[in-house]
């Protein structure tokens, strides 16, 4: 089981809830299961989010492996200048 924390807009969409426990062996599976657990998040997850895994921010690497030992934090999709 993965522990997933939410940040920013995602907390609003999840009705103020900041943490979820979901199954998943990689980012894609985690996001899919999170969307099923909390359908309110689905539109934002589909639009794109950033995922911080042990401090490393991933914007697109959907196949990045995840395990229960990882610190997983969902952040808004980020871009720079």
């Amino acid at each position: 089981m993965l522990k997933v924390k939410l940040g920013g807009t995602l907390v609003n969409k999840a009705g103020g809830r900041t943490e979820f426990e979901v199954e998943g062996a990689n980012i894609m599976q985690m996001l899919r299961n999170l969307g099923r657990t909390c359908p309110e998040l689905e539109p934002m997850l589909k639009k794109g989010v950033s995922v911080a895994v042990d401090g490393q921010i991933y914007r697109d690497a959907m196949l990045q492996p995840l395990g229960p030992e990882n610190e997983i934090i969902l952040l808004p999709r980020m871009a720079g200048g």
Partner: protein
């Protein structure tokens, strides 16, 4: 370790990397031979011009283009009707490039013409009759959040209970009794970050400092205006030559807006005369394509400077409140902030990133940041170097400076005491890996500038800053030429000297001379998708892909050597620019140099090339510390920056001169933000200073030589340890200069820009309070 970063151990010894060769584009740029956006021309091209709204907010009742269309020499006139909404396109971008029913800001495009020359095109614009109903407008972020404000997008954003907003209790102090509106609001989003118990934390504080801050919108100030040439042929195939940070983005967005197959549009980027984030979206490009499609001829559109200011994206203006509590020894115990950023007429201000960066430099157990994304009757904001971060750092670092002063603690020591380091849970959530803030603080403290004794009316400021740095989609090819030199094809526009850096990395990896590698920026039909050159990603991502493409090429060259020698491929290794037998058992062959392999390529199997594509991850964040000395003239309020030091973590500086250039450029842009730059809007909501005469960016005489120190804390996500460096350098200057001015004149400046009249008023205010 990122999924696809099958990199070996971090490389620490280099021959080419870290040297300072001449830039490959240098001669072209100083001789005028370099081709920028407006330098492209196509046979038979027309001149395209855009008609723009003179009103900040107006309903477009009708547009009559008949007279313009009848004018001899006019080949096409378009309005929004010529760019119908396509399924799946970005509606905000669609509306921004051409108003649909309502003009949302001064300068909003309403129609466009293509004519045989500029004089005819200008005349045609005057013949277009637009019937407007002028609406109430709002350009200030605080005003836009009030229920009495005109709503830009009725029904789009949920109505809000104004009295429930943090802004009502913490910032404005002017609560309005009306709580909800039927039309909704201008508040496009509310975001919260943080952890711990802020209220509990503040109870532990010996000192609490809180203040409100405001910053004005500033433009990126790139010297080259937006320009493009579009050519759509009768069979629907199209080409676009354009000045942009992201040709693949331009291709995909334009195709989406115009209902084209992506494969039918080929985009070729020009040299770029500055972008800094402002060229990461589209403005005139789809309009030029639509004109060309209708006219059946190439169309060139070049923005005037006035159009650049009125219609492209500056950064957000901001209104902020920050509160920090500390123990007597300087330890921060709690931090709280409310950030309100207006992003122009559409949602998407960088307030989320400003919120995440606000306290990122510090190890805080109790922290909360609330951000509001607000729409106003201004042009849609665009990214500007570390979008959102300089404003929140201005507020946070200003409060920290005041706490240090009140506690009598050195400005660098208090930051060292609270600095984020490896293992710190960041204020925005993730735990930091290896980062270099402490190293930048220590280097700043050790620098000679920090020891200079200050004179009368002089002050010193310190500020630190953070930026995430990004990576992303990258695709690189490297081709071995017949003489052993190499052609490196990159898909990321060179906005900061990246061609030189890529050549250095390729040369390093191959063990050959830098001059033997020549890099070009390819068009969108020549390489796979590359993300925009943004987010300080290019040296990291394209560098990573270049290294991997070169390794692919090396493997192929070793394979050729193996065939020539008749030994197994794995019995060949690459060293110092040549294939060698991997050991005594491999055979006693003389090494085959890259030139020898190239000369035999045709006879041994054909051309040799390396290729790599990746959605790169693993860009390490970058921290910086700046130190600034200023002198203020007490009679005029004018100030002079005496010394300015940038210390920043680059991970590994591939081309140190370019790294220093990024540090210096960011600092100078930040100094301009503090001293003079701002958008002036008249009472009618129109921009009053749409030109460089009235919008004053810094010139050489405004700034001293910017001193730099490159700190190198390697990023484990890159084979050479690279971190992006392009954006962090603009984060600290706003606060750094403001802290220096505060130190010089004894009052804290909390509104930018700190133009001489404002500084003089502050000086006179202090004098009056003492009288």
């Amino acid at each position: 370790m990122p999924l696809d970063a099958n990199t070996p151990d971090l490389r620490t010894e280099f021959k080419s990397v870290g040297t300072r060769p001449n830039r490959p584009d240098g001669v072209d740029k100083v001789t005028g031979r370099a081709r920028f956006g407006a330098d492209f021309s196509a046979p038979g091209q027309l001149v395209g011009l855009v008609l723009r709204s003179p009103h900040a907010h107006a309903r477009i009742k009708s547009i009559d283009t008949s007279a313009a269309e009848a004018l001899p020499g006019v080949k096409a006139v378009i309005t929004y009707k010529d760019i119908p909404e396509q399924e799946g396109c970005d509606k905000d971008v669609l509306v921004n490039i051409m108003a649909r029913g309502t003009a949302l800001y001064d300068g909003h495009a309403v129609a466009a013409v293509a004519a045989t020359d500029a004089a005819v095109a200008r005349k045609a614009l005057k013949l277009i009759k637009v019937d407007y109903k002028v609406l109430k407008h709002v350009t200030d972020v605080d005003e836009a959040m009030k229920p009495s404000a005109p709503v830009l997008h009725p029904g789009r954003f949920e109505p809000v209970d104004y009295n429930s907003l943090e802004t009502a209790s913490h910032v404005s102090g002017k609560q309005e009794t009306k709580t909800k509106t039927r039309e909704g609001s201008n508040i496009a989003g509310r975001y919260v970050f943080g952890h711990g118990d802020v209220d509990k934390g503040f109870k532990q504080a010996d000192i609490i400092v809180e203040h409100e801050f405001k910053t004005e919108a500033t433009h990126q100030g790139y010297i080259e205006p937006h320009a493009c040439v579009a050519s759509v042929s009768s069979d629907g195939m199209a080409e676009l030559w354009v000045c942009t940070q992201g040709p693949f983005m331009v291709r995909d967005v334009c195709a989406s807006l115009l209902g084209m197959d992506v494969s039918r549009l080929r985009v070729t980027p020009s040299e770029i005369g500055g972008g800094f984030g402002g060229k990461t979206t589209v403005f005139i490009e789809p309009v030029a394509l639509a004109l060309s499609r209708k006219a059946g001829k190439p169309v060139k559109v070049v923005m005037s400077r006035s159009e650049v200011f009125r219609c492209t994206g500056p950064t957000s203006s901001a209104s902020m409140w920050v509160k920090i509590g500390a123990k007597k020894d300087g330890t921060f115990v709690a931090a709280d902030a409310v950030l309100k950023y207006q992003g122009g007429a559409f949602p998407g201000s960088p307030v989320e990133m400003g919120a995440m960066c606000a306290f990122a430099c510090y190890d805080l157990r109790n922290v909360r940041i609330v951000g509001y994304d607000v729409v106003t009757n201004r042009p849609k904001q665009a990214a500007y170097r570390a979008p959102g971060a300089p404003m929140s750092a201005f507020a946070v670092e200003g409060v920290i400076g005041e706490i240090a002063d009140k506690l009598g603690i050195d400005a660098i020591d208090i930051r060292l005491k609270n600095a984020a380091k490896e293992g710190t849970v960041s204020s925005y959530g993730p735990t930091f890996g290896p980062v270099g803030l402490v190293e930048t603080l220590e280097a700043a403290k050790a620098h000679k500038n920090y020891k200079v004794k200050l004179g009368k009316n002089q002050g010193r400021g310190v500020a630190s800053g953070f930026w995430f740095n990004f990576a992303g989609n990258t695709c690189v090819s490297i081709n071995l030429n017949v003489d052993g030199t190499l052609a490196l094809a990159l898909g990321t526009v060179d906005i900061g000297g990246s061609r030189a850096s890529m050549c250095l990395m390729a040369a390093e990896e191959l063990g050959i001379a830098y001059d033997d590698v020549r890099a070009i920026i390819a068009d969108t039909s020549s390489l796979g998708y590359n993300d925009i050159s943004e987010g300080s990603r290019v040296t990291f991502s394209s560098g990573l892909a270049t290294i991997k493409a070169v390794r692919d090429l090396k493997k192929r060259m070793c394979g050729r050597a193996a065939k020539i020698w008749g030994i197994p491929e794995d019995a060949v290794k690459w060293e110092n620019g040549a294939a060698h037998p991997a050991g005594a058992n491999a055979g006693g062959f003389d090494p085959l140099s890259i030139k020898e392999i190239a000369a035999q390529a045709s006879a041994t199997g054909g051309p040799l090339a390396g290729h790599y594509e990746i959605n790169a991850e693993g860009a390490g964040p970058s921290f910086a510390t700046h130190v600034c000395d200023v002198e203020v003239d007490p009679e005029t309020g004018a100030m002079k920056v005496l010394r300015y030091l940038v210390v920043q973590d680059a991970g590994k500086a591939i081309h140190p001169s370019y790294v220093e250039g990024q540090y210096q450029g960011g600092a100078v842009q930040g100094i301009g933000w503090v001293l003079n730059e701002e958008y002036f809007y008249g009472k009618d909501g129109t921009l009053q200073n749409a030109g460089f005469l009235d919008y004053r960016i810094p010139v050489c005489s405004d700034v001293p030589m910017i001193d730099t120190v490159i700190v190198e804390v390697p990023n484990p996500g890159h084979p050479y340890g690279v971190r992006g460096v392009g954006e962090t350098s603009i984060v600290p200057p706003l606060a750094c200069v403001a802290n220096a001015v505060s130190s010089a004149i004894g009052v804290r400046a909390r509104t930018l820009p700190m133009s001489p009249p404002k500084v003089l008023a502050a000086i006179e205010g202090v004098a009056a309070s003492k009288a």
